[in-house]
């Protein structure tokens, strides 16, 4: 079983993120592997362990994206590839899908490609389906469980209405949700191995593709308007009194 898992390096979810001169700034907050992608790595590793295979972790980004790759290596991935090219500076999700699909093809004979459900920076959540479409593979997204039997896979998808069970033939693209199960922590041995890993860097020329034209642009990034709320603390002699006063205030706002 040959597995690829795609990860992204993002500012920690606890970071205070602001727009400064139209640029995104997260101060000195650490960059980490996108939290959703850890579930994808976990699913890739579990599948590898059950079906005897290898996991290659792939990231697109600058040199610092190697940290996300090393985290995935430390969790137990076999090898890592960084895709980096100055021409990818302003790449959009459509372009990202073209590049990742080209990388998956170059790796060759891949049976399963795993993604997190979305990245917590751009929040678009369409790279998995778009990559699947470029590859012409089925997209089994928002998977909470994954069962592989021979060349057939069955997943339970987490959708608005509950769970949907879908099956398909491999190869296929998967995106994972938190219900899949907690990602493992990197082991001590894993961290040592990852810290020594030489991570190959592939350029667009290595992938044999031209820079994808950016269709989507974001000329402006702004801070959301400050919400001026002053909290009115509701007090009273007993819980009943407090509750009644609070209910009156809520009803006066006419939100019910």
């Amino acid at each position: 079983m040959k597995i690829v898992v795609c990860v992204k390096q993002v500012p920690d979810s606890a970071a205070t993120v602001v727009a400064e001169n139209g640029q995104v700034s997260w101060g000195d907050a650490p960059l980490v592997i996108n939290p959703w992608d850890e579930y994808a790595v976990e699913a890739a590793l579990k599948t590898k362990e059950a079906h005897d295979g290898t996991v290659t972790v792939v990231s697109m980004g600058g040199e610092n994206a190697k940290e996300a790759l090393k985290h995935a290596l430390a969790m137990g991935c076999n090898d890592a590839i960084l895709i980096s090219d100055p021409a990818l500076e302003a790449v959009d999700t459509q372009g990202t899908a073209q590049v990742l699909a080209a990388a998956i093809k170059k790796i060759g004979e891949v049976d399963m490609a795993f993604f997190g459900r979305q990245a917590i920076d751009g929040d678009a959540g369409i790279t998995p389906v778009q990559t699947a479409r470029v590859l012409g593979w089925p997209a089994l997204t928002l998977a909470a469980t994954i069962d592989v039997e021979g060349d057939t896979v069955k997943v339970e998808r987490s959708i608005e209405e509950g769970r949907q069970t879908v099956s398909a033939k491999l190869p296929a693209v998967f995106s994972l949700v938190k219900d899949y199960g907690e990602p493992r922590y990197p082991s001590f041995m894993g961290i040592r191995k990852a810290s020594r890993a030489e991570i190959p860097v592939w350029s667009l020329a290595d992938l044999g593709i031209e820079a994808p034209a950016a269709v989507v642009e974001w000329p402006q990034i702004i801070n959301p308007p400050k919400k001026d709320v002053t909290c009115e603390i509701v007090e009273g002699g007993s819980p009943k009194e407090i509750a009644e006063a609070l209910v009156d205030k809520i009803l006066a706002e006419k939100v019910l």
């Binding site: 959703w36 917590i120 479409r133 089925p138 609070l246 009803l251 019910l256």
Partner: protein, 339 residues
Amino acid sequence: MNTWVYIDNFKGEALPASWEAISAAKSLGGSVTALVFGSGVEALAKTAFEYGADEVLLADDASLADYRVEAFASTLSKLAAERAPDVILLPTTTRGRELAGMAAIDLKTGVLVDVVALELDGDKVVATRPIYAGKLLQKTVCNATPQIITLRGRVFPKPEAVAGRSGTLTKVEAAAGDVPTTVEGYAETEGGVSLTDAGVIVSGGRGVSNNPDLTPPDGMSDEEAEVWRAQQGFALVGDLAGVLGAAVGASRAAVDAGYIPYSHQVGQTGKVVSPDLYIAAGISGAIQHLAGMRNSKIIVAINKDPDAPIFKVARFGVVGDLFQIVPALTEAFKAKLGK
């Protein structure tokens, strides 16, 4: 401007954000065409006219009985390639998001995802979308056509339905093609209000497990006892939600501790919500949680720690014991709402 609106439905039932997209389409000016795809879904066409669609493209076919993104994307892409709409709007539901993504690849265009505001610059739509879970806003444009845009639910107004209003119904072919996936079945969650559609949400956090007055049944480990306590706490949250017809939410801490399933999580790695009323009980207000709910119209916080960050975004606060306040609120709402 020729704008299409995709009506997302599950087994013939439209998701409300689809109708909101019709009012967003109207705000762009020009004609509005609703897309109704599925099997046995003709009744939705009638509803789409009542909500303001001028035309409906109806692909009613057995091959579209179960939503499979590949089949729906091929049908949408073929129609769009033939008829060249300027803009395609979809609700940011699970299905809408994925359909937009795949169709954009087919049509060599782009998607602006989870948009909260639209303005026009000539014939180009400038969309505003939250990024970093709403910590920032991005103004974004798509330089190809059709401009595919998914709209966040509960942001654009739901249009007034005009009974008997009608328009041009055009039946079109499904173009499902060879669909690589098979839907084996569903396990629908029973009852309950969906967080993203909810007008009112009552959420619980780590604090719901701290009721000192409860004695867990004999023989439980500490961890089991904690979860048991939390479940009693969430029962109080659920009672209040019941009276208000609200959805039940939770903080990441409560989900990670195993108090309540992940589908209830509100926040950066859960659901981003914007109800009219959000009641947070025993939630301190970590930045990840605030990112997911700060756009709620009225926020009410109940917490025993007066310095909890949740009070910074709340309109009303109670510094106190949620195990006393929440049941008292349930009773008070029951009395005042006549339930």
